[in-house]
Symmetry: C2
Subunit: 201 residues, 2 copies
């Protein structure tokens, strides 16, 4: 029984911040890691914008709760949970993501936390430096083989640390740069690759 580490946004569910940006009208929340690759600085800018616009956590939660998992994600998670121990490694926040995570079966989730007072986000706490890589390494210390699936630059270190790794729905500019990882474009392809690993483990 191996551990399957999955990125969340872009892999199993849609990106959450653009939805919050659209619903709230706070344009700065449209910023992505492509605009600011340093996640701490990106969150600093998001937090500053949320504070300036007095955006409430409950409003953010309502926006995110309206999102649905990507097509096929629920079925994939059901299959994956029967064949692997699944861990979601994400740069999201528990306070925002939980309603959406429940829609994919409430798997074990490691992400960051928000500090909230009076329905306003005051601070954010990143779980640890290089959170996805650190998680993979510590899971490996439990003597488990780790398979990992991601779609973006913040997944690269995790994919490199894992024993076997795949891109799912990753942009061409990333997959061309890192041809080491199979470039998959559907849950059907991913299920096929993972089934191969199950049979040949």
């Amino acid at each position: 029984m191996e551990i399957l580490c999955l990125d969340l946004e872009g892999v199993l569910v849609p990106e959450m911040w653009p939805k919050v940006a659209r619903d709230s009208g706070v344009e700065e929340l449209m910023l992505t890691p492509a605009d600011q690759p340093d996640f701490g600085r990106l969150m600093d800018r998001r937090l500053e914008a949320m504070t300036r616009h007095q955006l409430k956590l409950s409003s953010i939660q309502e926006s995110v709760a309206e999102l649905d998992p990507l097509p096929g994600a629920v079925e994939f998670m059901s299959w994956a949970s029967s064949n692997f121990q699944v861990v979601i490694l994400s740069d999201t926040f528990y306070e925002i993501a939980m309603p959406l995570v429940r829609k994919i079966g409430n798997p074990f989730l490691l992400c960051h936390t928000l500090e909230v007072h009076d329905d306003q986000v005051r601070r954010f706490h990143l779980r640890q430096p290089n959170p996805k890589t650190a998680a993979v390494r510590n899971l490996q210390r439990m003597n488990k083989r780790i398979l990992a699936v991601g779609d973006s630059y913040n997944d690269l270190a995790m994919l490199h640390a894992a024993d076997k790794a795949y891109f799912l729905n990753a942009p061409a500019k990333i997959t061309k740069q890192y041809e080491l990882f199979p470039n998959l474009t559907s849950f059907e392809e991913l299920t096929k690759e993972l089934s191969y690993e199950l049979e040949n483990a």
Copy 2:
């Protein structure tokens, strides 16, 4: 969002081996850690008995699949999974436990594995030495606070390694020896204690 590490047998579900022993008539499978505290040696004896009686894995699985979670366990797991990231740390084996683990919501499970050929258990592979303690320590390395719940001697090191720990339905001879840990006797009491931690974290 803290991590809650739960023992499986005796805490959430009944002991599995006595059920297998009763159904199969293989008396040696009644042996418990009280008879042989070294788990590797205990499994050696169980394996020898299974081989001698040509006990099939599928028969063991059928016996275990007939078991139900302890009263209240399903409701407790539902509550716990909404408030913590739950990890089951057990000395059971994936090949035997999965049908029963699905009945409590298929939480993230770390346990051992069996090597099976032609429906016969040939070998067992313990995940790592001191598996529960090692799991707690490596989860702590992911910068998470760990709460733990157990009921027997093989949980003691895990309870000591955790940031906060409880006995649930533990025999008096253990709880008297280790008064450091609250001695809880129902899911209601456990939920109350964990709720206190949630409010004061």
